[in-house]
Symmetry: C2
C-alpha cells in the first residue's frame, strides 16, 4: 500500500507518499480502507522525534482516520465488511489501510459526510474524556479552554455549552475570539491583552481548565481555578517544568491531572470511545456540535498541512483526503 513515509528522521517535513507493507489484522481488529485522515499537533511532534508511538504500533503518522471496513478479524464485535467508520488510532492513519482495534471504531454519525466525520474521533474522545470523565464538568460549571479557536478549543466550546457550562476561552486575535463567540463561548480573553487568571477571578474562577501550555501557564492556571477546581494538562507547548504553589492549590482544594489518550491500553481506549459515542455522537447527529474544518488537502500534501497547522493560523482541523 501507499503511506506517508518520513524519508529523513532529522527532517520533520520529509514526508512522502511511498510504499509500506499493508498492515496485518489480529484478533479483535478490522482492516479499514482509509478515505481520509485528520491532522493533529501530535503528528508534528512525532515527525520531530518527540512523540514516539507506543510499543508495537506502526511508526506511520496519523491518530485518526475514516473509511470503509475491508476485512474483519476474529471477535470483531458485530462490525462488518463495507461498514463506514471513523477510527481513533495509536498511529498509522496516514496510509491507504489501517488496522484498527474494534474498541476504537465509531460509526460515521448519521447525516455526516465521512470526510468531515474524520476530524471528530481524536478531538471528541480527548475533550470528552478529559473535561467530563477526568474533571467532572457539569451543568452550571465554568470551563476555561486555552487556544479556543483550535481543533480542541472549537470542539470543547460546543460540548461544554451543550452540557450547560459557562465557557471562557483564550486566543491571540480578535478574529479567533469572534469565531469562539459564534460557537457559544461566553468569556473571550485575548491573551495578548489581558491576564486570563484576572478575568477568571472576576467570574468566580474556573471549575475545569483544559490546558495545552503546561509549565508556562501552571501557576496562572492554579490562580484561575475555582474552589475544588480541576486543571487538566494535555499539552506542554509552554514547557515541561514549572513551579507549583502547593499552598495556593490547597487553598482551593484543587487538582491537577496531566494526561493523554495515545498511551492508554486498548481497554481504556474502548471505554473512552464507547462513552464518547454515547454522549457526543447524538450531539453531532442533531447538529448541536458542528465540525470545524479549516482546510481539506490531498494526503500527498501532509508536509504542507503540518506547516499550515504549525503557523498558528488554523481555526479548527485539517483533513487529508486519500485518492484512489
Amino acid at each position: 500500500m501507499k503511506a506517508i513515509i518520513q524519508t529523513n528522521p532529522d527532517d520533520p517535513r520529509a514526508l512522502e507518499w511511498g510504499d509500506a507493507p499493508t498492515p496485518e489484522i489480529g484478533d479483535g481488529e478490522v482492516l479499514v480502507k482509509v478515505r481520509a485522515a485528520a491532522v493533529n499537533r501530535a503528528d508534528i511532534l512525532q515527525a520531530r522525534g518527540h512523540y514516539p508511538p507506543p510499543k508495537g504500533v506502526t511508526d506511520i503518522l496519523g491518530l485518526e482516520c475514516a473509511g470503509v471496513i475491508e476485512k474483519v478479524g476474529d471477535n470483531a464485535g458485530g462490525w462488518q465488511v463495507g461498514d463506514e467508520v471513523c477510527c481513533l488510532l495509536s498511529g498509522g492513519g496516514f496510509a491507504e489501510y489501517a488496522a484498527v482495534p474494534v474498541g476504537q471504531l465509531l460509526p460515521v454519525p448519521k447525516g455526516w459526510e465521512l470526510e468531515r466525520a474524520v476530524a471528530m474521533p481524536e478531538v471528541a474522545c480527548t475533550v470528552y474524556s478529559n473535561i467530563v470523565m477526568v474533571a467532572g464538568l457539569k451543568e452550571g460549571d465554568t470551563l476555561l479552554v486555552h487556544g479556543g479557536a483550535g481543533g480542541i478549543g472549537t470542539f470543547a466550546i460546543q460540548l461544554a455549552k451543550s452540557l450547560g457550562a459557562t465557557v471562557a476561552v483564550t486566543a491571540g486575535s480578535a478574529e479567533k475570539l469572534e469565531r469562539c463567540r459564534e460557537l457559544g463561548a461566553d468569556i473571550l480573553i485575548n491573551y495578548r491583552e489581558d491576564a486570563f487568571e484576572d478575568v477568571l477571578k472576576e467570574h468566580g474562577g474556573a471549575n475545569v481548565i483544559l490546558d495545552i501550555m503546561g509549565a508556562k501557564y501552571l501557576d496562572r492556571n492554579v490562580k484561575a481555578l475555582a474552589m475544588d477546581g480541576h486543571l487538566v494538562i494535555i499539552g506542554m507547548q509552554g514547557g515541561v517544568k514549572g513551579e507549583l504553589n502547593i499552598g495556593r492549590l490547597l487553598s482551593k482544594r484543587g487538582s491537577i491531572t496531566a494526561t493523554g489518550l495515545r498511551y492508554r491500553d486498548k481497554a481504556d481506549k474502548a471505554r473512552i470511545v464507547s462513552a464518547t459515542e454515547d454522549i457526543v455522537w447524538p450531539l453531532l447527529e442533531n447538529g448541536t456540535i458542528t465540525d470545524q474544518i479549516h482546510a481539506t488537502m490531498d494526503i500527498r500534501d501532509t508536509a504542507k498541512a503540518h506547516e499550515l497547522l504549525d503557523s498558528g493560523e488554523v481555526t479548527g482541523k485539517i483533513v487529508l483526503v486519500v485518492g484512489d
Copy 2:
C-alpha cells in the same frame, strides 16, 4: 465555661484553661458536653498563627471531641439529649462545651470507650475522604503513606489493608517501622536510609500517595507514582512551593490534589462524615481498625501535649481528657 485560651498570640505555648462564653447553638446544631478531645498538628499550626479558623468559627483550638449531647437545636436529625457522640469540628474542641452541626456527629462505635473513640473523627474522615473519595484507592492498589507511624499513618495503614491494598510507609526509625509492620504495612522504608521513590519503583509504583510534606517531596512523589496514580497532599511540612515536572506527570497520566477538611462547607463535611460512618465505623466495631493512642493527658496540659506531638516522638494520637 472553661476552655483552652491562648493568652499571648505570639506564644504558641501560652495555652491556659480559662473562662470563655459557652457556645450558642443554632439550627441543625447540638451542644455537646465535652469529655475528651484529641490533638492534631493543625492545632499547633493554629496556635502559631498559621492556620486560622474558617469565618464564623470560634478561635478556640480543637478539631475533634467526644462527649454527651446536652441540648439539641431545631432540625437535629434525630439526635437526642444524653446521646454519646464523637464530633468532627471546625474548631472549639478544647473546651467544656462545643456547638456541633449534626452532619459532623458520629456515634461512639459499639464496644469503644468514648475516651478512645475521640481520636477517630479527624483521622478517619481525613484518610477515608482522601484515599478513597478523592483518589479512589481500591483492592489490589498500592498506597504510599508518609509518616506511617503518626496519627494519619497508623490509621491509613489499617484502613488500606482492610480495603485489600498493599501499603508502603515511610518513617524515620526502625522502631516506628516495626509499629507500622505490626499494623499491617507491607513495604517499610526508613527515609533516612533509602529513597522511597526508588523502593516504590521496584514495587510497580504507588497508585495513591497520601502526603504531608508538600514541596520537599513533590518531585519524588511524582516519581513514585504508578500509571494513573494520584498524589494527595494534605500537609506542607516540607514547604509550599516546589518544581513540578509536568512531563513526568503526563508520562504517568498522574493526578495531584491538594486538599483539607477544615474549610469545606457543612454539606461537604456531612457527606464525608456520613460516608466515613458507613465504611469505617463497622471496621472499628469489629476490631479491624484499632485506635493508636500514644498518650492521654489532662486538657490543662494542652501546651505539653503540643510539645510532645511536635517532638516527632509520637506514635498515633494524643487524647486530652476534660475533668469535671
